[in-house]
Symmetry: C2
Subunit: 552 residues, 2 copies
């Protein structure tokens, strides 16, 4: 049996275009002699559709496209397995379904059984669970279908099982030759290797060939890496699709199939940093283009974060589609402007320079009747950031480019950023990238674009340059100290004392940082959507009240 793993990149809700692409892939696969072509979870809909599922006509439109696939694939030699938003029972509740199509007929429909409802997932909000899964006999091969989470509950692999049922066991008990998993499994650092380990455990435990087909592409905050693969019954990798792009790979069971992309089976930090870079490039490209834009506008200060963001955007959209804007203010160093010019030139990106001095002066003048006699404070600092935000948005409104924000996760965590200032923009490209990781990504940028980010940017102490001689370290501990604390607080959800213990840091220091994180929730709830690359990003998957008083 020859399988085609069709790792498509659907746009949420663009059902006709997603289906067109499915049919294209099916035709290519059919011509190449595939017996079965497998698509990702919710391939017709795109994942995650969120509340669109509950809007009038969404399920009917999914069904219509599934019927169209059946009709239009009639003459193809390949059978198809396609994910779609279906219905369950007479009440027409939604279900996350796979539909199997052969010779123009929908021969099997099966619902997802395990519905993840944690972090970025909220499937219990939308879907009803499936009953006992049936085995499909395709030309003598007994195939069991699972959808994403359905394979994430192996009692032997996990210390604790999250669900009572194990759909893989239910299928294996019926006797299968091939286990198929259709997923929309979002990327975060290290997940590809983890996923492979887990699938290997499943394949070897049940002694069954196992295939994963995972969605590629970015949809809002989520970046799907694809990285589909096929394992034989011994858990050996026999086919692999590329990561962070669409792909179509083939595997004839019993032989070797296409192997693409790099080997990510073992942990290797450099490779994983490259992966984050690729994830951010793809996420940026997809967000910008799926929102209907082709160009991006970025405030380029000559600091590490904005330099990195410009490099990422340039790879995502092409240099001709990126505009950098330097906006020197009264406390900007000459070096920063020089560095900004260097980076723009090295990347081939247009740079405009618009000083904020005169506007800042006019503003302070207007505020003078009220501000006279007060000490300069965060009001004057934030004002500069807000004037810059105003310039970027004016350029966006005039020339129709999407503004990308440049703040990193460490800053966003502790509120070291200005709401309506440097937080202005449609996408927060690196808002899930801790500061230390930003430096590692800058090294990737410089490998791909030799010396685009000059050494001075990488070595100078980070500064917002909003008051004379300001340094981040005036108000924050060094990022080497802060980033590990933030990781344990945000990603691991630990208490202050547990973090202090684990890192050997003073309780007071951890406490101060934790309070900053808590107090700045209001900023994050008005932040632009950010691309998720860690196991816990701000945004969709982390829901913290603003006006709360819990202290851990």
């Amino acid at each position: 049996m020859k399988l085609a793993l069709a790792q498509t990149n659907p746009t949420v809700g663009d059902l006709v275009a997603n289906t067109d692409r499915i049919l294209e892939c099916a035709e290519t696969a059919g011509r190449a002699g595939a017996d079965l072509t497998i698509f990702p979870e919710l391939a017709i809909s795109g994942y995650p559709p969120l509340d669109l599922i509950q809007t009038a006509g969404y399920l009917e439109a999914n069904e219509a496209q599934l019927q169209r696939i059946a009709y239009q694939s009639k003459s193809l030699d390949t059978a198809l397995a396609v994910g779609y938003c279906g219905t369950a029972g007479e009440e027409g509740k939604a279900a996350n379904c796979v539909g199997c199509i052969q010779h123009g007929e929908i021969v099997l429909r099966q619902r997802k059984i395990l519905l993840p409802t944690y972090d970025v997932f909220e499937e219990a909000r939308y879907f009803v669970s499936g009953g006992r899964p049936r085995v499909w006999n395709l030309a003598g091969t007994r195939i069991g279908f699972t959808i994403c989470e359905d394979v994430w509950n192996d009692k032997q692999f996990w210390e604790r099982s999250r669900y009572a049922r194990d759909p893989v066991e239910e299928l294996a008990a019926q006797g299968i030759d091939l286990l198929v998993n259709m997923s929309a499994s979002p990327y975060h650092m290290g997940k590809r290797g983890f996923r492979l380990d887990m699938f290997r455990a499943t394949a070897t435990r049940h002694g069954v060939s196992t295939v994963l087909v995972n969605q590629a592409g970015g949809n809002d905050q989520l970046v799907f890496d694809g990285s589909s693969f096929a394992l034989d019954a011994g858990g050996n990798l026999r086919a692999r699709a590329d990561s962070f792009r669409e792909d179509l790979v083939f595997w004839s069971m019993g032989s070797d199939g296409d192997i693409r992309g790099c080997d990510w089976s073992s942990s290797d930090e450099d490779r994983e940093v490259e992966a984050v870079y690729d994830a951010l490039v793809m996420g940026t490209r997809d967000y910008v283009t799926k929102c209907g834009f082709s160009t991006a506008i970025i405030g380029l200060s000559g600091g590490i974060d904005s330099s990195l963001t410009v490099a990422l955007a340039t790879e995502a959209l092409g240099a001709a589609n990126v505009m950098g804007v330097a906006m020197p203010g009264p406390y900007s160093s000459e070096g920063s402007l020089t560095d900004a010019r260097h980076t723009a030139e090295a990347l081939g990106v247009r740079l405009e320079t618009i000083g904020i001095g005169p506007v800042f002066g006019a503003f302070l003048n207007q505020l003078d009747p009220l501000f006279r006699g007060t000490e300069p404070n965060v009001a004057e600092e934030n004002l500069q950031a807000r004037l810059r935000g105003g310039i970027l948005m004016a350029l966006s409104n005039k020339f129709d480019g999407l503004v990308l924000t440049t703040g990193n996760k460490s800053e966003l965590a502790v509120g070291y950023c200005t709401l309506y200032g440097d937080m202005c923009g449609g996408l927060a490209v690196i808002s899930d990238v801790p500061k230390i990781l930003a430096y590692k990504l800058a090294a990737v940028a410089n490998r791909r674009n030799p010396d685009a980010i000059p050494t001075s940017v990488l070595t100078k102490p980070p500064s917002a340059e909003l008051r004379p001689d300001q340094k981040d370290s005036d108000s924050l501990p060094p990022y080497e100290v802060m980033d590990p604390i933030l990781r344990l607080y945000i990603e691991e959800n630990l208490s202050v004392s547990a973090i202090a213990d684990q890192l050997g840091q003073p309780v007071k220091l951890v406490q101060d940082i934790a309070r900053l994180v808590d107090r700045n929730e209001y900023k994050r709830q008005q932040a632009a959507p950010g691309l998720r690359v860690t196991s816990k990003a701000f945004g969709l998957g982390r829901r913290i009240p603003i006006a709360h008083q819990f202290v851990r």
Copy 2:
């Protein structure tokens, strides 16, 4: 048996303070001779705690406060029923629990059975469901406890049942004299009357006295009305707490109890508009104070929305704690400034006037090298709004008041508002108030503060005043036409054609409005949290992708 309905207003996560208040109420109720004092759902935690439930120590801290209540209430004559975040089983998963306390002992713990996971609720994300509920025999009275959603699944009341189980049936089958429901049931227009009807149906169906104790107060976007009550076995109202504030009312079963607040059992538009007004006042007060602020800053343009917002804030915080800021620009009418002054004076609120003209001029001058030769467009319009936002935020940063935004739901729906401009602020007071309702609320404001909002504000055509002679009606249909369309699209989730049919409006018009709603999702995802007063608000309970292409 004498019952005390203790309708408290907890702050999410402020476990010690919430518990202090519980103990105060218990003492008062005990002194008044109550046999049982009943508190809302999650009274120790405050609702909704969201992901705090999953942070280190949250469940343990809830248990500690429950134990404290038991210990410190030992000498009281009243038994207690208290909602808290508990655990279930050995794995320590979270559960939404009631704990019953008598003579210092926790004598019964019961978990919520039905876990709402729709709209603003996501309890399947957090909680495990309870097993068969037990009946508590207190001094000869057989009491059955339910938590909020547990009573919302009566097969006879609803056309369709959402859940397989009916906890009320499970309790009634065991024989009960009293059904208690502890809730955190958020307000929306008409909900109080609906809730009462539903409880009446339950009381009469099972022939059992029924008591609701509902949380009061605002927590972020949700406003809890309280409106607790007691029904006898015939479904007759025997006690009622006030709405939109803490309250403690008593009911001796078999006689009449305290009756407070107004009668909201039948539908009456004027009364419901008053309720929305009260909800917004309470929601504003609680958000501002629970965030640690005491004063508010509001851009007062002399239009209906900002005038209404200032009136609401004044009632919420006191006139001395509200600062209005008039920020006339090149296209502001003299009348607007006069109206703003009138309203500020009538309400006794400080008004500062800071023109944006000079700053706008300086800004255009800086942009001139890039903008020269282009036609004035939305760039110049939005810039004015953003300068105003910058002024308000500068005042906030300098004088520590919370900026309240003034946009209404109709504008937010179609994107007739400026991101980082008039959308700047910590709370969007009327962002769930459609424009037509804003006029009705302004009438309430004028009844409570005679003629605070002058007739000219109520009668002039709405305008953003961002270009010469601009009117909202230049780019939008009249609000009388648009608001009903928006309601069916957003609250009822209908298709374009169904809306056009139902309202007798052209399909093209409905389609255009629907497209505006869809395309402006990116603005709403960066909007300040808004107070929910309709059955479907933007924010927490409505999750729509930004980069989607679904057309209904």
